[in-house]
């Protein structure tokens, strides 16, 4: 009885939802979801109860979707919205009107125990077997060498910023990171928060969604970002004035993410905020992601990524050269798009 009452109380709270966006997502879905007060979009699967798959995730990115699914804590459930994907136990919704109530009902059912929490898709085993040598899995020489669980220990590499040789970290980021354009998977090598190398594993999906609100969110203005996303009936003039008053533009470093035609993040931010329908005419024939991102810190890189519209970003991904395969020749699942070899351009800023 007591648990029942608690479950009912919990079911009245906002539903924490993590969004996984696929191809051919319903038009203006982010705008629609932002207008539902009962939902709260969270930035990490660890804080979510419902995984909402919008559109169809292509076959190449299904392993990533499975990993994401398993990272939600119990009790959890999945909703496929206008999606042709197949996930065991997931609920399928096709019309935009039903989505809010469907999520709300599923969440309260989940909390009341009427719906079972979804089990893991991946096996409960380490991704690779233990192959360490020393007592802590290291190769035996300090903390260097060895491959515990199939992942080599971090080694030092030349630093781009101030010459301090520190450990590097290489990982695939995306495609469901909230600060990444949907579908984009980048293999980044980081030293601290400085990006050392960039390779495109999967280009972003083709959408016409406006990333302006993400830029505002990244600049630390979540309320203004929500306002832009919802498109509140405050009128164009008042939003422009608010955006100007916050001086968000000044928070973007001058000359950040300059393409070869001279436009930088500030210019593209201005264009996104002005709600002009005409696309910004960018000439991106020679600009690759390596020119734009290498040497930037993480927060700057995210501003650069979200300042482009999807079509431009896809062109830039196509211009990004494939990395030279050095000592580790096991880059098996890298299927890059386009790789026109333009070489690296010095001076990214």
């Amino acid at each position: 009885m007591g648990m029942n009452w608690l479950a009912h109380l919990a079911a009245r709270a906002e539903v924490p939802v993590f969004l996984a966006e696929g191809e051919a997502a319903p038009a203006e879905y982010a705008h629609l979801l932002a207008r539902m007060p009962a939902l709260r979009m969270v930035d990490t699967p660890r804080a979510a109860a419902i995984l909402l798959v919008v559109g169809t995730v292509p076959k190449a990115l299904l392993p990533q979707l499975h990993r994401l699914h398993d990272q939600l804590p119990h009790p959890r459930a999945t909703i496929l919205w206008q999606s042709r994907n197949d996930l065991s136990g997931a609920k399928r919704i096709d019309s935009a009107e039903d989505i809010g109530t469907a999520i709300k009902t599923l969440h309260s059912d989940l909390l009341a125990g009427n719906v079972e929490s979804e089990p893991d898709i991946l096996p409960d085993a380490p991704p690779n077997e233990w192959r360490g040598v020393g007592p802590h899995g290291q190769g035996g020489k300090g903390m260097m060498g060895g491959t515990p669980y199939g992942r080599p220990m971090a080694m030092t590499a030349a630093d781009l910023r101030d010459g301090l040789e520190l450990d590097t970290y290489t990982a695939d980021f995306g495609p469901f990171l909230p600060m990444f354009p949907p579908g984009l998977v980048l293999k980044l090598t980081l030293q601290g928060d400085v990006i050392q190398t960039v390779a495109v594993t999967h280009p972003p999906f083709e959408t016409t969604e406006d990333r302006g609100w993400v830029l505002l969110d990244l600049l630390g203005l979540p309320a203004l970002a929500q306002r832009k996303l919802r498109g509140d009936a405050t009128g164009k003039g008042s939003f422009d004035r608010l955006a100007r008053l916050t001086a968000a533009r000044a928070a973007i470093p001058d000359g950040l993410g300059r393409t070869h035609d001279g436009s930088d993040v500030r210019a593209r931010f201005d264009h996104l905020m002005s709600r002009r329908d005409s696309a910004l005419n960018l000439h991106l024939h020679h600009t690759g992601l390596d020119d734009l991102l290498v040497g930037l810190e993480w927060h700057e890189a995210m501003l650069v990524l979200n300042s482009f519209d999807t079509a431009s970003l896809r062109t830039i991904c196509g211009n990004t050269p494939e990395p030279e395969t050095d000592d580790d020749a096991d880059g098996e699942d890298d299927k890059k798009e386009g790789g026109m070899d333009h070489g690296a351009h010095a001076g990214h800023m």
Binding site: R67, D124, R151, R161, T168, G174, F176
Partner: protein, 113 residues
């Protein structure tokens, strides 16, 4: 007596909460849940690595000013009794600290990066 009761009560309550939390924890964490959250991506290198604490020069600056302030409060009382002698001593102390700040300046602690 009230103190004793309070201590016992705190002890019993904390024990009670610990037991209740342990009983409430059900599923253990599985391997898929132990992965770092990269939006579905997978790491290639081990996460055990050295990281540069870039604010260490700032701590140098903090220590220089903080020690100065720490000694100045009791010194204010001594100054009333001793007069110019205490002033001269504090002057020497501040000079030594300023050398530290000048050294920090040369090392670039006023440059935010």
């Amino acid at each position: 007596m009230p103190t004793l009761i309070a201590i016992i009560l705190i002890f019993v309550l904390s024990l009670g909460f610990t037991v209740a939390l342990r009983a409430g924890a059900t599923a253990s964490v599985t391997y898929p849940q132990k992965r770092p959250i990269l939006g579905g991506g997978d790491p290639e290198t081990h996460a055990w690595q050295r990281f540069h604490v870039r604010y260490y020069t700032m701590t140098l600056l903090f220590v220089a000013f903080e020690m100065e302030m720490m000694f100045m409060y009791p010194w204010a009382v001594v100054f009333v009794e001793e007069g110019p002698k205490a002033l001269a001593e504090m002057g020497m102390f501040l000079t030594i600290l300023s050398v530290g700040i000048l050294y920090g300046w040369r090392e670039g602690i006023f440059r935010w990066e």
